[in-house]
């Protein structure tokens, strides 16, 4: 196990999330072992590593999405603003409202573009001006000009990149602190990927972002901090190898395995 090297010199100050000794099982399968990791506030933290290294699994422990999987079991703790989100009195529904998620494949609701963004605020009893909120969110993700004349059309009528921006707008409409992104560009073409990356940089001023990616260049381009995960071949259990500022991880990794991966010798 490697403890975080991030030293807390961040603009917003402190950490949005602190994971300690996280372990995940799916039934008998030990999916991820002993991850300790700090996520700095208002920064982009990338989680990279080969397939099966548990990076998505760890991402999903950050807002208790793994609760949806009957066989999943989590040990260890994830502290959000000083509270362990796996504590006995914590409501996972409230956790997910504050720690939102954007998924690998764009998954807009089969509803209108407007309703997609309005859906979250509506279930949380938003009483203000919904049209204003929807416009603000769509502007925030640089989608407004493309959709302002067709807000009543299905969200599924948009292109893949537009759909993913719509999903990001939907996620920020409930005003979360943290946005988790699970390979948000893997289903998109390079141009759309570029748009999403620019958007992530832009959003980092306001939100803490954790992004899982299998694209190392993306991690290098977009993130402030990088966590490198790997998989133990014998047990297929994932583990955290190294975490630190992105520049250092890519320029002078401490672990040979990290070096092998980022120089393309495996994975």
């Amino acid at each position: 196990m490697v403890v975080s090297h991030v030293n807390g010199t961040t603009a917003g100050g402190g950490y949005a999330l602190t994971a300690s000794h996280l372990q995940v099982w799916y039934g008998d399968f030990h999916a991820v072992s002993d991850v300790s990791l700090e996520v700095p506030t208002h920064r982009i933290t990338a989680m990279i590593g080969p397939s099966g290294c548990g990076k998505s699994t760890i991402l999903r422990t950050f807002n208790r999405m793994n609760d949806l999987v009957d066989t999943a079991r989590v040990e260890g703790s994830v502290h959000y603003r000083g509270v362990d989100i796996y504590g006995p009195d914590v409501d996972p529904v409230e956790v997910r409202r504050r720690i939102g998620m954007v998924f690998q494949k764009p998954n807009p609701f089969p509803k209108s573009i407007f309703e997609n963004v309005a859906w979250g605020p509506r279930i949380h009893g938003f009483k203000g001006d919904m049209e204003q909120l929807v416009e603000a969110c769509l502007r925030r993700v640089v989608l407004w000009d493309e959709v302002k004349d067709k807000l009543n059309q299905s969200g599924l009528s948009l292109s893949g990149g537009q759909q993913q921006r719509l999903c990001i707008a939907r996620a920020i409409a409930v005003q979360p602190d943290i946005v988790l992104m699970d390979e948000p560009c893997s289903a998109l073409d390079p141009i759309a990927t570029l748009h999403i990356e620019e958007l992530m940089r832009d959003l980092a001023a306001q939100y803490t972002i954790v992004v899982v990616t299998h694209n190392m260049q993306q991690a290098a381009r977009v993130s402030d901090y990088t966590a490198f995960f790997s998989v133990i071949p014998e047990t297929r259990t994932g583990e955290l190898v190294e975490v630190g500022p992105t520049d250092r991880i890519f320029d002078s990794p401490e672990e040979p395995r990290t070096n092998d991966y980022i120089t393309g010798r495996f994975g």
């Binding site: 009957d70 529904v93 859906w119 949380h124 939907r170 996620a171």
Partner: protein, 332 residues
């Protein structure tokens, strides 16, 4: 047969091309052709059967309407069905059929959908393992047993609840409720299939926004599955309209006639579901069960009723499909 390596193809010239042409030549595949034809025939049989039934119904019904004793306008507007006095107004039978079906659907739709939501969105593997076979058993009970269940179990309960002077021994409500139980497994299992077909990604999207399980189920999954759910409702409703044995046993053995629209609807008497009445199917099975003779007026009248029954379920089908198209949320 082997494909020659590329180098030879390039240098082979004209003779080589002939060889390749032969390799690529269109081949006869007799078995493929035979299966194609056989499968087409299977499809055709179902269509031909439908056409045959419609033709037979239509032809016999036409014989009925051609008879001098019968007037189409009377058939379509009168509230008296009394073959003995040559009065053939269809409304008493239609009214009973609709009453029983609506009661059935009022029970089966909400309950079936709720069970489906429970099975698809809430139940763990163990609960499903218990509940699903129970529902399947429900679907396997012969309808005549359901009929006596209505008559000897549900009717006494209704009479206790609402009073013996209010609820007759044979009544539409009891039959309708039990038809509801009969179609419940259909509604449940088809709705559950529709709910389960909704991609997990949509549930994750809702949950990721901080939605509860109920909000996710009701506001994302059910709307996305609406077209499949409405298909379940259509099938169940058609089955309820056509259900025969339960109404024959428990609903009564004679049409509930009225002098006219005024008497039927003015005092809402026709809507009293606690009285005995005969449905379209109930009438058909009672009349045809006896020593009915071909070419008799009674015999022909059954086909007119049958044709109308067919048109009712057809209309229901078209109507529900239109509704589903209007409201469904396409997710694919």
């Amino acid at each position: 047969m082997s494909v020659k390596p590329g180098a030879e193809l390039l240098t082979g010239g004209l003779g080589m091309e002939v060889g390749v042409r032969k390799e690529l030549a269109r081949r006869r595949r007799p078995f493929e052709q035979f299966m194609h034809g056989a499968l087409w025939l299977c499809g055709a049989i179902s269509i031909l059967t439908t056409i045959g039934i419609v033709y037979m119904l239509g032809q016999e019904a036409l014989l009925f309407f051609r008879r001098p004793e019968v007037r189409l306008t009377e058939f379509l507007t009168s509230w008296t069905w009394q073959p003995q006095t040559l009065q053939f107004g269809i409304w008493p039978l239609v009214n009973a059929t609709m009453g029983a079906s609506l009661i059935a659907m009022a029970l089966a739709l909400p309950l079936g959908l709720l069970i489906a939501i429970y099975l698809s969105e809430y139940a763990d593997a163990r609960a499903r393992r218990i509940l699903k076979p129970v529902l399947e058993v429900l679907a396997g009970i012969p309808t005549v047993v359901y009929g006596y269940f209505a008559l000897t179990f549900v009717t006494p309960i209704l009479r206790n609840l609402f009073g013996i002077e209010v609820v007759e021994i044979f009544n539409i409500a009891s039959a309708g409720l039990v038809i509801g139980v009969l179609v419940l497994p259909t509604v449940t299992s088809m709705s559950e299939d529709a709910l389960r077909a909704v991609p997990v990604a949509l549930r994750e999207a809702a949950v990721g926004l901080g939605a509860t399980r109920l909000e996710t189920s009701v506001r994302v999954v059910v709307p996305a599955a609406l077209s499949g759910i409405s298909a379940a409702f259509i099938v169940a409703m058609s089955r309820a309209v056509g259900e025969t044995m339960i109404v024959a046993v428990a609903a009564g053995a004679g049409p509930r006639n009225f002098a006219g629209w005024g008497e039927a609807l003015g005092g809402l008497k026709a809507l009293n579901l606690f009285q005995s009445a005969e449905t379209m199917t109930g009438h058909i099975v009672r009349i045809s069960g006896g020593d009915i003779s071909y070419d008799s007026l009674d015999y022909d009248s059954l086909f007119a009723i049958g044709l109308l029954l067919f048109l009712m379920t057809l209309g229901l089908n078209i109507f529900s499909r239109a509704i589903a198209r209007r409201f469904r949320e396409r997710y694919d």
